[in-house]
Symmetry: C2
Subunit: 353 residues, 2 copies
């Protein structure tokens, strides 16, 4: 493995000094990029692109050709694990993810296998090895997974949901059965992320996209508990470095202290959380990642720069900040505004380091 030429991102996650605040963008390889749309068209459907290591590698690298990003993130989907469990993930034109076979009974849950990444999802570590080779040490590569709770919502609802009626009914009426599913997902995620680390992922992020729809007690019981098990089960030393673990619960700004207690290295924040307040609460223990409202990218270069400056100022001086959006970039964004974001983070943050 070649030496890492830009380690700002990894250093910031470990709260070590950096020369400027590192930045990456959730969903940075995505539909807002014309070159992505072209590559996706050639691939046919979205999952074919995810499952083709060469295609996933190409797409992962696309935003790095345009923007001075401090990290690459594996191009994939959070629902590869349920797909590998046999649920048949597919995407209808213009709609969210769906499963051919949703989880409907106790037997469905009992019958689910635990994922063995090497045999069930080989295309993911294959893609990571390829991307690492192509990156050649330019920036670190992030691996990722959905959280067990978030994966379970899709598996039980059969796709996206507005009110999470089915899984919440199970959570309150049959919590032991839901626990069986969440345990299987937890073991699968541990295997999956360890395989990504072994293949070369230099940091990992767990996307708990739907943890924020739970009550405080239910979040602890059905989401955070399993994320803590994952953090404890990861091999976070590789290539002589620590592999930092980032937990991102959308809508989880009220629970930062308990998220810290998982032992994660960093917490991703959505835009509803004030960065300075979050730092005051937990910034002596973890790094913080975020948290520009993606909607701001619709405005103008000038507004993007101004709002970037506010978040940098809110975080203040010193180590431990990775700049990002508070959620993924949407397809309608002008890539020039993403360029403005990345450049503004670097230029405006120097004075804080």
């Amino acid at each position: 493995m070649s030496d890492l030429k830009n380690d700002r991102f990894l250093r910031a996650l470990l709260r070590q000094p950096v020369d400027a605040t590192p930045v990456w963008v959730m969903r940075q390889a995505g539909r807002y990029l014309p070159e992505y749309r072209a590559r996706r068209e050639r691939a046919g459907d979205f999952m074919s692109l995810c499952q083709n290591p060469q295609g996933a590698c190409e797409v992962t690298l696309q935003p790095l050709e345009r923007f001075d990003l401090d990290a690459a993130i594996l191009f994939s989907d959070i629902l590869t694990i349920p797909d590998a469990m046999g649920l048949g993930l597919y995407f209808d034109q213009g709609e969210g993810p769906k499963f051919r076979k949703a989880i409907e009974s106790a037997k469905d849950i009992e019958d689910l296998p635990i994922v063995n990444t090497a045999s069930d999802l080989p295309y993911v570590p294959d893609a990571i090895r390829l991307i690492r080779r192509e990156l050649n040490g330019r920036v670190p590569l992030i691996g990722f997974s959905g959280s067990p709770w978030t994966l379970a919502t899709y598996m039980i609802e059969g796709g996206s949901s507005k009110d999470f009626a089915k899984i919440k009914t199970m959570a309150y009426s049959n919590p032991d059965l839901l626990a069986v599913l969440l345990e299987k997902l937890t073991l699968s995620v541990i295997d999956y992320l360890n395989a990504q680390i072994a293949a070369g992922a230099q940091a990992v992020q767990i996307f708990d996209t739907w943890g924020g729809v739970l009550s405080t007690a239910a979040f602890q019981q059905f989401s955070l508990k399993y994320m803590a098990q994952i953090v404890a089960g990861l091999n976070t030393e590789a290539e002589g470095r620590t592999v930092p673990v980032i937990l991102f619960t959308k809508g989880g700004g009220g629970w930062l202290e308990s998220v810290v207690a998982t032992g994660c290295h960093a917490i991703g924040l959505d835009w509803t959380q004030d960065m300075g307040e979050a730092r005051a609460r937990v910034g002596d223990r973890v790094a913080l990642q975020g948290n520009l409202d993606p909607a701001i990218l619709r405005s103008s270069v000038q507004v993007v720069e101004s709002e970037v400056g506010k978040i940098l100022g809110s975080y203040g001086s010193g180590e431990g900040h990775v700049f990002n959006l508070g959620h993924g970039v949407t397809p309608d964004i002008d890539p020039r505004h993403v360029a403005a974001l990345v450049d503004a983070v670097h230029s405006l943050s120097v004075k804080y380091h």
Copy 2:
């Protein structure tokens, strides 16, 4: 006006001692009740029912016939104000609210009138007078309005929204123009709520349904600022009593301290906020209302009772708690589970008073 036979709700909002925790349910007069569905069918469309004082009165009283609720809430819609401004509110079958004429330009905003409730929305105070007469002092009557920000989201998006793209673009690109709209809405809401109070509303709630989609700074600038102006502009003394003001920002659990600073009497909490933690933060200054996850009503009587008990225990002993859901009851709920909720609140809360 006859004396109030049950003033638990008003006393709890003012943090005065009560014999048991009062309870009402957001959207307690709604589609989960067969008698509501029958009355609605007779009325034709939803807005016709809102605009008919006799019909609104009947529907307001329906849940009180079934459940031992401690308050009635005016049956109406938060979008009566934009409708009265000329936007043409309508509801398509099975869809959310829509406007025939969305706000699209600076001229559209300049042309908007400020609502005069007496002339533009007479059916609302008429309904309140009728409901008060029919209630005959049984329980207090709650009036309500949407917050300026929340009303503006529907007016600019043209209806419900997933990402609030249009209004956020305006908020970041042209905040002065959005401020003109929010000022007009603020003056309209003040007039509207004061007219409701003059007609007999004994408490008022401001529904800031979409304040929680904003960043902390944007929430202060575009939502909270105007709610504070409303609180300051209300005539909160009527019939020799204080008319308490409840502010409910869904997703606003991180901002309780700044919501208190508006001078409101109570804060509505969604279910993501731990009741005990909220009380520790602000419970010496305001009452707290909430906050059972409405999804729990899908489970069973036993689970409903258990979860009610947890929230009561989390709040603990003493004054200042009004029990409610963390959001409105949904159409798929069995009314017997709402009955179980109401009865459990009363029976399980006695020991805390």
